[in-house]
């Protein structure tokens, strides 16, 4: 890369990584084109659809609007970094499958990230969200197939289970 390139270091799905990138590079392009992590989807490239949602320091962001240079020293998690334990699928992913919340699936990785972030946030705050709050938490993610009901059900079920804890 010629002019205006920068060295950045960051953590991606738990692994340390260094890259030389142009200043204008978007995070989604770093993830898909440089790191070859294709699970993060390009839906609109204007921050409207949420298909490209990833976690930066645990917070869900649209990677299509986020300059890659801003991840310096931060922790990025993409769909490939979920789950982080021994299991092959995270409870969020299991719940989406069991509720029939996946059709074409192009929005699904973004949905997983948005739900994951919201679940963690609620857990931290000790908050049991209402259905309306769950709907709000996903209002930045567009799905054209499912009509959302089953995605909202899948998210809600995660809280039903953990409500005792």
């Amino acid at each position: 890369m010629e002019e205006n390139s920068f060295n950045i270091s960051f953590t991606i799905n738990g692994s340390y990584c260094e890259k030389q990138i142009p200043a204008s590079l978007l995070l989604i392009n770093l993830i898909r084109d440089e790191l070859k992590l294709k699970g993060t989807k390009p839906g609109c490239m204007e921050g409207e659809c949420g298909a490209c949602t990833v976690l930066v320091d645990g917070k869900a962001i649209n990677s299509c609007l986020f300059p890659a240079i801003n991840i310096t020293g931060r922790e990025v998690v993409t769909i490939e970094g979920i789950p982080d334990g021994e299991k092959t699928l995270d409870s969020v992913q299991e719940s989406l499958i069991q509720h029939g919340a996946v059709q074409c699936g192009f929005c699904t990785p973004g949905m997983v990230m948005a739900i994951k972030s919201f679940v963690e946030q609620c857990k931290t705050e000790g908050h049991l969200p209402t259905r309306e709050e769950i709907e709000d938490s996903l209002s930045g993610n567009i799905c054209r197939c499912t009509g959302y009901t089953k995605i909202i059900d899948a998210s809600e079920a995660l809280f039903d289970k953990s409500s005792g804890t």
């Binding site: 989807k41 490239m45 029939g100 699936g105 192009f106 054209r144 009509g147 959302y148 009901t149």
Partner: protein, 767 residues
């Protein structure tokens, strides 16, 4: 059919869901092939212009640009249903999505950069953007490939249909309602934008297309024709498809363009639209104007319908122009109707061209029809549910168009939503407050449920391979586009063979491997591919049972397939199914456990008068929708959607509900918020920011009541389901809003502005 089934009817998560939730599924945009170039397309600056010159020299000299093509560099046949669509446009452009040049470069960014260096000189012309202007005798011919010399040169497709004694029925009519309905342009808005990767090998002259097509065999044929190649030289591989909804029924110019770039460079080339290009360059749902006159006798029995439809075809003709054929069925055959005349013209304009979209014209037709029914009911003073129940279709009916309704759940569906919506306590309007008013509206729909005979074959082939480990491979002609057909097929196999779903694999994405299928459309896959699979399973079981009956010293009729075993019902003795395969394979008769089967539905081509039984069976549905309208802001909130649908038989409740909820949501977008605006041929809102799709905040409670009519020709009694839930929604929502406010609105979407204008004037609003 009274036998308890192990799998059919049980909620079954999609087999491919784990791949999709984990981000491992490979969609078209995820494909990377070594040496792959990125293609980009230069589109016209003007919706109508002559091209005076194209200079690509600067683009070609940009380092990293491997190839630039224009119409003068290629030798192709026209595309499209009427072959009126040049792959690239060399001397004139006719709509804003026209392809003038294309580039292949080592990166997407370079390809985009190169487009900016191409110099095109145009002589802009005055375009025609209103179909009624195009119909004027003074209008110039828009598409010069329309060779129909007899009619108006700007009509691409005309349909005329009639049945019954119109004069007599008009004389019987005491109530007649005439209205004009205006339906907007809307976009599929698939979450994955259009994409294709072409890989041409000059070694063997074969072209591999990694394409999101819904119709791989038609695609293979059409792209071969466009490129002047033999279809056998073309292999179509379907990666995971990020939404279809009809948008991938037509071959679009970017696909042969990508192939040409690959052929010229000898390297793989990928074209991936961005979202703006997706809006501008992919075919949309037809906008149209419907003039409808309908009558009833004094008791509310429907007497006649007269229909005149003018569709904005745009500059080129796709399969979508044939949607007049589906709309015709709604007007001729939804509810009992003694006489009908129907005329529909698809008219060329310099607007973006229309294609195929879930429902295929039916949401538009149903909107007009169901609005008129409410208006007739009000005029007659008959209850709006009652007039529908009075005229509902019944089993055994043969309609004026000769559609044969063996099973028909129309009346049951209506009764179900009337009851479940608690209509009788809500029908007089529930007063909330002066500001918020509630209303309830109905609409029904009719759609093909057993395929649709529009091509020489509406069939589907299946090949099965049961291996010596007891794993079943289903090679099906049908395609998975997210609707869950793979899961349905695996469920059928599990039901019949008693083996675990984990042991069943589906191969359905490679034209070199899979047998013929006409494609994913007309809600046909579960019905046609399902029946095909059942035929193949029967043959496979015949093979297995012959051997197993020898091994178990019994007769084939005594055998049951359960838990991976073939078991004698009498003695309880059993053999593992894989052991039976090994006995067949390794010992006499030394045969593979492989079979093939082809299923062709019993439907027929309609005659020149469009009469005939075009589908194996028909699906019916009714919706009741309850809304609350804010009279201060004009905002419509849909509270509840009650949906009853004749699905024949519930196969996978989880997948079925998903189709219903998704279809209703798409219908709500059509009803309330979605519209592509254009001005003089330019699209004004080609972004998700300005084109408003429903989000999680817009989804009402959706109550679904399947009606099981046990269709004898359907697999386990099932009918096609997937388009239906979208079809009546906009009509039912509009009927509900008009009920709530006491206004008349005859167009969609019901934006706050439109609702407020209707309230202001309490007048008829249709624009």
């Amino acid at each position: 059919m009274n036998v308890e089934m192990s799998t059919i009817g049980k909620p079954t998560p999609k087999l491919d869901a784990a791949d999709r939730v984990s981000g491992k599924a490979v969609y078209g945009p995820d494909i990377e092939i070594s040496g792959m170039l990125h293609g980009a397309i230069l589109r016209t600056e003007y919706p109508s212009a002559r091209i005076d010159s194209i200079d690509v020299s600067q683009a070609l000299s940009l380092p990293g640009v491997e190839c630039v093509i224009t119409a003068s560099d290629i030798d192709t046949n026209n595309l499209g249903y009427r072959k009126d669509h040049p792959v690239m446009k060399g001397d004139e452009v006719n709509c804003i999505r026209d392809e003038v040049a294309a580039v292949a470069a080592v990166t997407k960014e370079l390809a985009m950069e190169a487009l900016k260096l191409i110099k095109v000189e145009y002589s802009p012309r005055k375009g025609i953007f209103n179909p009624f202007d195009a119909l004027k005798t003074t209008a110039p011919q828009i598409n010069r490939f329309n060779h129909d010399k007899e009619g108006n040169p700007n009509i691409s497709e005309s349909f005329h249909y009639e049945h019954g004694d119109m004069q007599k029925q008009k004389e019987k009519s005491t109530c007649v309602v005439s209205r004009q309905y205006v339906l907007p342009k809307v976009a599929h808005s698939c979450m994955a934008t259009s994409n294709v990767t072409a890989n041409y090998s000059d070694v063997d002259g074969r072209l591999t297309m990694y394409s999101s097509t819904q119709v791989p065999f038609l695609y293979q044929r059409e792209i071969a024709h466009a490129l002047k190649m033999k279809p056998s030289k073309i292999r179509v591989i379907q990666p995971i498809i990020g939404g279809g909804f009809g948008s991938k029924l037509d071959l679009h110019p970017f696909e042969p363009i990508c192939a040409l770039l690959s052929m010229k460079t000898g390297r793989p080339v990928q074209i991936l639209y961005d979202r703006k290009e997706e809006f501008i360059a992919s075919a949309i749902r037809q906008s149209m104007i419907i003039d409808l006159t309908t009558g009833t006798d004094e008791n509310g029995n429907f007497t006649f319908r007269e229909v005149k439809i003018t569709k904005d075809n745009g500059a080129y003709t796709s399969w979508g122009a044939r949607s007049s054929f589906v709309m015709m069925q709604t007007f001729s055959s939804l509810y009992k109707i003694p006489a009908c005349t129907y005329n529909a013209d698809a008219v060329y304009t310099n607007n973006v061209f229309a294609g195929s979209f879930r429902g295929f014209g039916n949401p538009q037709a149903t909107f007009a029809l169901e609005r008129n029914i409410d208006l007739m009911a009000d005029k007659l003073g008959i209850d709006r549910a009652e007039i529908r129940l009075l005229n509902a279709n019944l089993p055994g009916e043969i309609t004026g168009q000769e559609l044969v309704y063996g099973t028909c759940g129309h009346k049951q569906a209506l009764e179900s939503v009337v009851k479940n919506s608690d209509y009788n306590t809500k029908k007089n309007g529930t007063t909330c407050s002066n500001r918020y008013r509630r209303g309830i509206g109905f609409a029904s729909m009719l759609h093909v449920g057993g395929g649709a005979k529009i091509y020489p074959s509406d069939g589907c082939g299946t090949t099965l391979k049961l291996d010596t480990y007891g794993y079943l491979t289903i090679i099906s002609g049908s395609s998975e586009i997210g609707q869950g057909s793979e899961t349905i097929l695996a469920m059928f196999a599990r039901e019949e063979l008693g083996i675990d779903l984990e042991k069943i694999r589906i191969i359905n994405s490679d034209t070199d491997v899979k047998p013929w299928d006409v494609g994913v459309h007309a809600s046909r896959t579960a019905f046609v591919a399902g029946n095909s699979l059942l035929g193949a399973l029967k043959k496979l079981k015949h093979k297995l049972s012959s051997k197993a009956s020898q091994l178990l010293d019994t007769v084939p009729e005594d055998l049951i397939y359960i838990d991976g075993n073939i078991q004698s019902d009498k003695t309880g003795d059993s053999y593992k199914i894989d052991k039976v395969v090994r006995e067949i394979h390794f010992k006499t008769p030394h045969e593979l456990c492989e079979v093939s089967y082809f299923y062709e539905p019993s439907s027929e081509f309609q005659d020149k008068q469009y009469k005939g039984n075009v589908s194996g069976c028909y699906a019916f549905a009714s919706q009741a929708v309850e809304v609350q309208v804010d009279t201060l802001t004009g905002k419509v909130e849909v509270l509840d959607v009650y949906m009853a649908q004749d699905v024949g038989k519930v196969l996978n409740p989880l997948g079925l509900e998903g189709q219903i909820e998704g279809g209703v949501a798409m219908g709500l977008g059509y009803a309330l918020s979605e519209e592509l605006f254009s001005d003089e041929g330019y699209l004004l809102n080609p972004t998700f920011h300005d084109y408003k799709l429903p989000t999680t905040r817009d989804i009402p409670r959706i109550h679904f009541y399947p009606v099981e009519t046990d269709e004898p020709s359907g697999p386990y009694g099932a009918k096609g389901v997937a388009e239906a839930p979208l079809v009546p929604t906009a009509a039912a929502v509009t009927n509900a809003v008009c009920h709530a406010l006491g206004v008349e609105i005859n167009t969609i979407p019901l934006t706050p502005e439109r609702v407020l204008r209707a309230l202001d004037g309490k007048q008829q609003i249709n624009n």
